[in-house]
């Protein structure tokens, strides 16, 4: 699975429960789309740390790195490089 696929899978399993037929695009903001909230972001951080074995610093938890599938994938690639 690519990093994007793993993120999409995690979001689908943990946040995207809905009967409205919504499709998440890779550049959609998790926050603006109402997919994650405060505790959701903390869960996302744990997912990233555990799945990709990286250490996420407090000041790295910003929308530029976390707030869409593609942003998060870019961040993870940079961390594991």
């Amino acid at each position: 699975m690519t990093i994007e696929e793993q993120i999409r899978q995690y979001i689908a399993d943990n946040f995207l429960f809905s009967d409205d037929g919504y499709q998440l695009s890779d550049d959609a903001s998790f926050l603006e789309e109402g997919i994650v909230d405060s505790t959701g972001v903390l869960e996302l951080v744990m997912f990233v740390e555990e799945t990709f074995d990286v250490m996420v610093e407090d000041e790295e938890i910003v929308p530029e790195s976390f707030d869409s599938v593609s942003r998060l994938a870019t961040y993870i690639r940079r961390k594991i490089a």
Binding site: D13, F15, F17, S18, D19, D20, G21, Y22, A28, L31, E32, E33, G34, I35, V36, D37, S38, T39, G40, V41, D58, E59, E60, I61, V62, P63, F66, D67
Partner: protein, 508 residues
């Protein structure tokens, strides 16, 4: 005075001052007012009449702010619905208040067509956001198209201060949300009283991370616009580092939060940020543990900390004057300016220091009651000491010390306070009962260092193999994020009372 006068007066006094910093935009008072005027003309042209309920189902955004004031200027009553509310509850609220118009955006826009069909009172929907198009069909407009098509001059004001400014839906012990009815006069009084004790001035810059659907978040907007300050409006506290950076960059002076936000803040390394501009911090929705009060004061020795207490039914009720914080950190203080409170026992006698009873609240911040729900209204809003007056029975048990400072003891009902939000166990139980194979459910609050109380569901199954994930999947599809349980425990049976009702006192 009317609530839209907050914006109008500031637009006259400080037309070029930054009113709103949000979504990467920085809007002056004149700009916000011009947009609200355009929207008001549009709403009137599309049939919104005095007193119509108009629902705002948007995250914190420029559009939500413009909608609030545009609706008021059109003579309507605004209803902000939490943007994580799911279809069933949204439909319930829209039907309950017979909303004529709906504002929505983003992911939620895909819901709009289905909701539209289910709510006969809805005449049209306004879509905003990047992907907003009117492709959904008749009765759908985009926010930007409406603004572009109407003039920026101020429309004639159709309302007086006895008209309704807003309905704020809140959880009730029955499980169905109830709309607290706020007249313009109530909002004007309550916001003025709070501004008085916070000593707000036009130089204040307030950051708001709380949803505008929550009265504590909504009043940040209303109060800032009233005193002519600047509101930095964030979607949430989901990215603490981003919020802290914004606080530093905007030289924020006021930071309102709830215990969950402060618990996260206290775990965060604040050394990279210069937060020296902070003049005050406020906490409400649930009490801060005294240890957190001390830690906050250590981290922000230059800022004044206000412990407060309130409920939607009166907006704010109590505040602790900051000079009392060292002496009585466990107290939530005294009645807000211009109001009074007392404690009553079960026989209706006022009780003195040390005795526990129900907090009763008197003042012009006592709202009008629950929307079209005379039974629930009569239980909580009862006759007061003067003819025609009503006082609020809070449903919360309090005691006071010898000097009259008040201490929260417990709730009279089983409402859970999680992340500062009221959670009705019944509402969560009703959703879990909707899962095939669930025989019994009991939902309780359990202590949690971050959330205050975490939501725990005890579930009895009928010979089906369901996992915690299955339960949570259903919950997340059918309720707001803050209602979804943190813990699910499967049991073979639940303890019962002699009459066969589930007994929650033995669960933990």
């Amino acid at each position: 005075m009317l609530v839209q006068d907050f914006l109008q007066n500031s637009a006259e006094r400080f037309p070029d001052k930054a009113a709103l910093v949000c979504d990467g935009q920085r809007l002056t008072y004149a700009e916000v007012e011009a947009r609200a005027n355009r929207l008001a003309h549009a709403l009137i042209a599309h049939g919104v009449q005095r007193g119509d309920r108009v629902a705002i189902y948007l995250p914190n955004s420029v559009e939500a702010v413009v909608a609030i004031f545009g609706i008021l200027k059109a003579g309507g009553t605004f209803v902000v619905v939490n943007s994580t509310t799911k279809r069933d509850k949204l439909t319930y609220i829209l039907k309950n208040c017979r909303a004529t118009t709906l504002f929505t955006s983003g992911r939620n826009a895909s819901l709009a067509a289905k909701v539209h069909a289910a709510v006969p009172s809805l005449k049209f929907t306004v879509l905003s956001g990047k992907r907003a198009t009117t492709a959904a069909g008749d009765g759908f407009y985009t926010f930007d198209d409406l603004l572009a098509a109407y003039p920026a001059n101020r429309p004639a004001c159709p309302t007086i201060d006895q008209d309704l400014a807003c309905l704020i839906y809140t959880s009730g012990s029955t499980g169905d949300p109830k709309g607290v009815v706020e007249g313009h006069n109530n909002v004007v009084f309550a916001s003025g009283s709070i501004i008085q004790y916070l000593e707000n001035i036009a130089d204040d810059i307030v950051i708001n991370v709380l949803p505008l659907s929550f009265d504590y978040g909504l009043y940040q907007l209303l109060m800032v616009f009233r005193f002519g300050g600047t509101l930095v409006l964030e979607k949430s506290f989901a990215y603490p580092a981003a919020v802290l950076k914004k606080m530093e960059a905007e030289r924020v002076t006021g930071f309102p939060g709830v215990p969950t936000i402060f618990a996260i803040l206290l775990q965060t390394d604040l050394s990279p940020y210069d937060l020296s501009s902070l003049r005050y911090i406020t906490n409400t929705a649930a009490a801060l543990p005294p240890s957190h009060i001390m830690e906050l004061r250590d981290k922000f020795p230059w800022a004044t900390l206000y412990s407060m207490y309130g409920l939607t039914e009166t907006k704010r009720t109590l505040y602790l004057p900051p000079d009392q914080l060292d002496k009585r950190p466990g107290s939530v203080g005294i009645a807000i300016p211009g109001t009074e409170v007392w404690i009553e026992d079960e026989e209706g006698n006022r009780v003195g220091p040390g005795l526990v009873g129900e907090l009763v609240i008197r003042g012009s911040h006592v709202m009008r009651g629950y929307w079209e729900n005379p039974k629930a209204t009569a239980e909580r809003y009862r006759p007061g000491p003067t003819p025609g007056e009503r006082v609020l029975y809070s449903g919360d048990l309090f005691k006071m010390d010898e000097e009259g400072y008040l201490y929260f003891v417990a709730r009279k009902d089983d409402i859970i306070k999680s992340r500062g939000e009221k959670v009705s166990p019944k509402e969560v139980e009703n959703v879990v009962y909707g899962i095939e194979g669930v025989v019994e459910v009991a939902v309780i609050g359990v202590p949690d260092p971050i959330l205050g109380e975490a939501i725990k569901a005890f579930v009895v199954l009928d010979n089906v193999a369901l996992t915690e994930k299955d339960i949570l999947r259903h919950c997340r599809a059918h309720m707001e994020n803050f209602l979804v349980p943190q813990h699910v425990e499967f049991r073979d049976s639940l303890p019962k009372t002699s009459s066969g009702k589930i007994k929650k006192t033995g669960l933990s």
